[in-house]
């Protein structure tokens, strides 16, 4: 994008950037700077991710053998619940919007900050408080309901600190709602002059669609969890039939939120893909508008497919039909995106830098994750694979394979922007390949063992399923190491990494026009945008339509 601002004067005299503008813990904990808040989120989510990872390691170790020899059943159940609650509510939901979105959104639209910086800081505190509340529940009493909190198990039968965990998730929900609101208003009101809707980077479109879901869906889970708490505390009959309630109602309410949540995780990753792929192909995105619209289409459709989780639950078969049909339709906007990215790469000038490797890994894993979703949307087939390891594999391909790959791609792409230094590139590429290999080794065998009939959340399992679990555990070790590598080389690069200029990748987008790291106020002058997004081709060159 051509703008009136220029990064040249910044390069000449060392002006303070957002990192050096002030020092000390207080300057971070009370910061209103969206970039610092983004960093706070990165640290927070990495911590929760590592906790969730420890739980995952325990699960995989336990499942190495069919007998429950490492943990008691009770401890095992608490382990997978802890893994699910932390990873879903405290890592994946906020992952890309809260970290990358916070850091990048104002930069990408040429704004000084988000619309409500104080609210933004409050959102971070809410997530931390929610996370600590949930973590305390997990560590003290433990929760053994699964992250789905199905009633009446969670409301009347489970012991353990269910209420505390619910309160934690509830608080985190508000963090999500407020962040969403903040972003929607920011995108509406604070775009730089000339930055029309259809000049926005697709990452901004994706964040916009995600924020809408966050604002609209999260209140429903808050209500659901409140009702659950009422039943648990006071015996108000809402979900337990023994009290006159209906457990299917809980499932409806829960999935009304928790299906859109998948898109809260995946849409921002789609956005990252568009940025990274266009940059490392040096080419405008193929079908910009249709990709932008497909984000909105996915967000909208995502609200009306929740019943695909309930084909065998007792929901009416005709309702099931509708949900099956609508779910199938999501394949269309999804396919549009994937083929759009491939077409963008085609004929480009392709560089396999680390972010691009993650992006290609994303496309590979998401293809499998998305297509196996069709198995589950086909009702008669879902009857067999529902609640087996097939599902576990599927949603890990989508939520970890894709969302985390997207996040890693983003982190490696914008890291030099955030800190003005480059990480060790070769090591990073090795890690990217290891993540891909480790991931597939961990989760692919789970499709097979799932189809063979191994139910999920099984502490003991029949011995004939062992071989697949051995592979899975081996893969998890590779994956664990692959995730540890960035934890080492990123901090290292902060001090020893090669210094980079404003735009080390030769990328387009306003964020690359300001210094790396950017100054607190983001831009010296308000940028004025005069061209489309991803204008990699030189000015005046004939454009093929």
């Amino acid at each position: 994008m051509e703008t009136t601002s220029s990064s040249l004067p910044l390069a000449d005299k060392p002006k303070p950037n957002y990192l050096t503008a002030s020092y000390g813990i207080k300057s971070w904990l009370l910061t209103l700077d969206h970039k610092r808040i983004g960093i706070l989120y990165i640290i927070t989510l990495t911590t929760f991710f590592m906790m969730g990872g420890v739980y995952a390691a325990l699960i995989r170790l336990e499942l190495l053998t069919p007998a429950g020899d490492l943990l008691s059943s009770e401890a095992y159940n608490r382990t997978f619940t802890g893994h699910g609650v932390l990873m879903v509510f405290f890592v994946l939901v906020p992952l890309i919007p809260a970290t990358m979105g916070n850091f990048l959104l104002p930069l990408m639209i040429g704004a000084r900050d988000v619309a409500f910086p104080r609210l933004n800081l409050l959102s971070w505190y809410l997530l931390v408080i929610g996370g600590l509340t949930a973590a305390s529940a997990l560590l003290t009493g433990g929760v053994d309901t699964g992250w789905t909190f199905y009633a009446p198990l969670s409301s009347r039968y489970a012991n353990g600190a269910v209420l505390v965990a619910i309160v934690g998730a509830f608080i985190a929900g508000f963090s999500s709602i407020l962040t969403g609101l903040n972003f929607v208003i920011t995108i509406h009101k604070m775009r730089a002059p000339g930055l029309t809707w259809f000049r926005l980077p697709l990452m901004v479109w994706a964040i916009y669609a995600t924020s809408l879901i966050q604002v609209l869906a999260t209140p429903v889970v808050a209500i659901t969890l409140t009702l659950l708490a009422l039943e648990r505390l006071f015996g108000v009959g809402i979900f337990d039939p023994a009290l006159g309630g209906d457990p299917i109602l809980f499932e409806h309410m829960f999935w009304f939120y928790s299906h859109p949540v998948v898109y809260i995780m995946i849409l921002p990753a789609f956005g990252v893909m568009s940025e990274v792929i266009s940059c490392f192909s040096k080419k405008a995105i193929f079908g910009y508008r249709i990709i932008a619209y497909s984000s909105l289409a996915i967000a909208a459709l995502g609200f009306i497919v929740w019943g695909h989780h309930m084909f065998v639950s007792g929901q009416s078969a005709y309702l099931g039909l509708v949900f099956s049909l609508l779910t199938m339709l999501i394949a269309v906007p999804t396919a549009i995106k994937i083929f759009g990215w491939l077409a963008t790469m085609w004929g480009g000038s392709v560089e396999l830098a680390t972010p691009m490797l993650y992006a290609m890994g994303f496309i590979g894993l998401f293809t499998i994750g998305g297509l196996t979703g069709l198995f589950l949307a086909a009702m008669g087939l879902d009857v067999h694979v529902h609640d087996t390891y097939f599902i576990v594999a599927h949603f890990h391909y989508v939520m970890v394979g894709s969302a985390i790959m997207g996040y890693m791609s983003a982190l490696h792409f914008w890291w030099p922007k955030m800190f003005g230094r480059m990480y060790p590139k070769t090591l990073a590429k090795v890690a990217a390949v290891l993540v891909f290999v480790g991931f597939n080794l961990t989760f692919f065998p789970q499709f097979v063992v799932g189809y063979l009939g191994m139910p999920r959340r099984y502490h003991f399992y029949p011995p004939e399923f062992q071989i697949y679990n051995v592979f899975s555990t081996a893969g998890a070790m590779v994956l664990g190491i692959a995730y540890l590598l960035p934890l080492l080389y990123f901090p290292y690069s902060l001090f020893k990494g090669e210094k980079v200029g404003a735009n080390p990748w030769g990328a387009k987008g306003l964020e690359w026009e300001t210094a790396s790291p950017p100054p607190t106020e983001n831009f010296e002058f308000t940028p004025v945008v005069t061209e489309e997004a991803y204008a990699y081709a030189k000015e005046g060159e004939p454009v093929v339509h």
């Binding site: 199938m328 077409a343 004939e464």
Partner: protein
């Protein structure tokens, strides 16, 4: 050790019903579809990465902003393919939920952490389901406490056991042998021990098995229901002759009209609801006088009452 591990290596569970074969067919179709794209898409990426590798930093590729034919192609093809999957999956689902009329009704109650099963001949068992081969079996499933799910992988079927509701599914085994029975819906501490087996026997063996008298299960559900019907004084109102309640003769599977103008088919779920939650509907022409038996009868006893009511007025 590796040898024993690999001995079990396979990609499909045994197929012990026709339905299982049909589900596998759809599965193969989906696997093939996935395989095609999982090979094709990475292949394109690898090709692109090699063919269009960046040669110099000031290389500027020609932008292509879109192509209508391509975009239409990759919207329409996925649409058509997914509609095929939708239809195919729906047909299988309706097959799994519509039992043939000659099915044998077996009652299943889940509770933390066991399956209690009762056969129409009166035999009861726990965590085991004995059935004759080549005979459609309809399972009527419920739960006493939390959600469970009755899962028989060799038939490719499962159904959640939901407290307060009856759910049904059916199968017809085509192969004798002993196969897994799992609880598939997480239900608390010993969820993974809530397992058992389905034992498919030849009709002769099954008859023999029915004869073996090991437990209290000799009374048929119908007989037990009849006994309960008078013990609980249902017959004081439902006696078909001037009692306060409607006659229950030939009630099963007929349409019942309610005072509020709505109506319903009197299936097992409806009769169950009439017993444990009679205030939900009141039969037209009657007052809301039926007392609730919630908490006074166990799930098994409700089953027995229903089995008995189903026989009333039927020759």
């Amino acid at each position: 050790m590796w040898e024993t591990l690999f001995r079990d290596f396979s990609f499909l569970p045994e197929q012990a019903s026709e339905h299982a074969g049909q589900v596998d067919l759809l599965y193969f179709f989906c696997v093939a579809l996935t395989a095609v794209f999982t090979v094709l898409i990475p292949a394109v990426m690898v090709f692109v990465a090699i063919k269009f590798k960046r040669k110099s930093d000031d290389e500027v590729p020609k932008p292509v902003h879109g192509s209508l034919p391509l975009e239409i192609a990759w919207s329409v093809i996925p649409f058509v393919v997914t509609m095929v999957l939708f239809g195919w999956g729906a047909v299988l689902f309706f097959n799994y939920s519509s039992p043939p009329p000659n099915s044998l009704d077996v009652h299943v109650v889940g509770k933390q952490w066991m399956w209690k099963i009762q056969h129409p001949e009166g035999k009861r068992e726990i965590n085991q389901l004995h059935v004759p081969v080549n005979q459609p079996i309809r399972l009527i499933i419920t739960s006493e406490d939390v959600l469970h799910s009755f899962y028989l992988p060799v038939f490719r079927i499962k159904r959640d056991a939901v407290p307060g509701r009856y759910q049904t599914m059916w199968f017809e085994a085509t192969k004798t042998g002993e196969f897994h029975l799992f609880c598939a819906e997480y239900c608390g501490t010993e969820h993974s021990l809530m397992i058992g087996s389905v034992i498919v026997m030849s009709p002769e063996e099954y008859d023999q098995w029915l004869q073996t008298d090991d437990q209290d299960g000799s009374e048929t559900p119908v007989a037990a229901g009849e006994r309960l019907f008078s013990e609980l004084r249902c017959n004081s109102c439902h006696n078909g002759a001037g009692g306060n309640g409607p006659s229950l003769d030939s009630l099963y599977r007929t349409r019942v009209a309610f005072t509020d103008g709505t109506n319903a088919i009197a299936d097992e779920s409806y009769i169950r609801e009439s017993i444990v939650d009679p205030r939900r509907h009141t039969v037209a022409g009657f007052g809301p006088m039926m007392p609730t038996f919630q908490g006074q009868v166990s799930e098994e006893q409700v089953f027995e009452l229903i089995s008995y009511i189903k026989t009333l007025g039927v020759e």
